[in-house]
Symmetry: C2
Subunit: 204 residues, 2 copies
Amino acid sequence: MTAGETIRIPPCSGHAVELDAGDELVVIDPMGQQVSDLTAFCREDLDEYLSSGRSIDYASRLWLSTGDVLYSNRSRPMFTILEDTCGRHDFTLTPCSKEMFEKLYGEAEGRPGCEGNLARALAPWGVSRDRVPVAFNIFMHVAVEADGRIAVLPPLSKPGDHVRLRAEMPLVVAMTACSAGQSNNFRYKPIDFRVERARDRSAG
Amino acid sequence: MTAGETIRIPPCSGHAVELDAGDELVVIDPMGQQVSDLTAFCREDLDEYLSSGRSIDYASRLWLSTGDVLYSNRSRPMFTILEDTCGRHDFTLTPCSKEMFEKLYGEAEGRPGCEGNLARALAPWGVSRDRVPVAFNIFMHVAVEADGRIAVLPPLSKPGDHVRLRAEMPLVVAMTACSAGQSNNFRYKPIDFRVERARDRSAG
């Protein structure tokens, strides 16, 4: 990948990339109404991972957006959300999986889902499927009723909407073009991303 | 512990216990308005753990109660909620921790919090602090506003309220009497629990 090049994540797949502190990751929904499940691990110690529960607690908000910080299980900042043109994401659900497709959709094909695709992308770093936590589900629209019932609705993202995340520590980040029909309005579209390196900015 | 004996978890501490499939765990709030953070691991493979994201997804509800199943990261049932006299619990936040006390309460004492107490209780099974996930926070009352803001309110539990959980696989379960003032209305009370063994029922 060359500096600032936009990479396409094909439908129903995943991709991992290393970031250094200060690098910026731009996750783009090129066609609208697609979801990208994102998770991250600290490259200096892979036992430190992106934590939904910490991030929600510190923001005192279920849904995070511009200015919010995504924390690790060790309560250290992993990302800051610098830009968010969509405004609605989920941080409560685990990535879709083979078992989830069977239970919720009655699918028998055994598609790996975002969980399997994240694990496959993270395999070179030694991160197994069991260690894929609740993800930051970018553009995923989960409505919560007053009685706590949840509904997975089509994303609010329009073509070209993006989220810009600044890495706050050395990270390996994995993200997907989501495989769950309900999350992406049964369209199964790609996701684009771009990395803007801190070293290129300081050299420029 | 003898059969059916009620054990008291002192304020701001944790306790772990092994359950076999069919055993029932009764978690009791003896004085009212106290929270117990609970997590669990499969004894046959400790990489399988209680998953908030899977459980919420399969229930399609943020707040779980009687009849709901608590799932593992591998989408297998770990517990079924057989009884729930309170009706409101949280499954979105990580256990309180030393770092959380510093960030949200400005505390400098370094109390271990539920995270540290769960890790201490789980140490004999080789489970470290990093592996304590988002917990099932029994009796914890987290209100969600329409805009996603959350508020930690005093628990709705009255003295003697309880939750009865049936183990669906061989488990090690850890639970606490919660250390976070906001969660328990700054009263820091104990939690009681009782294990009713399947083998005692079948022998009786």
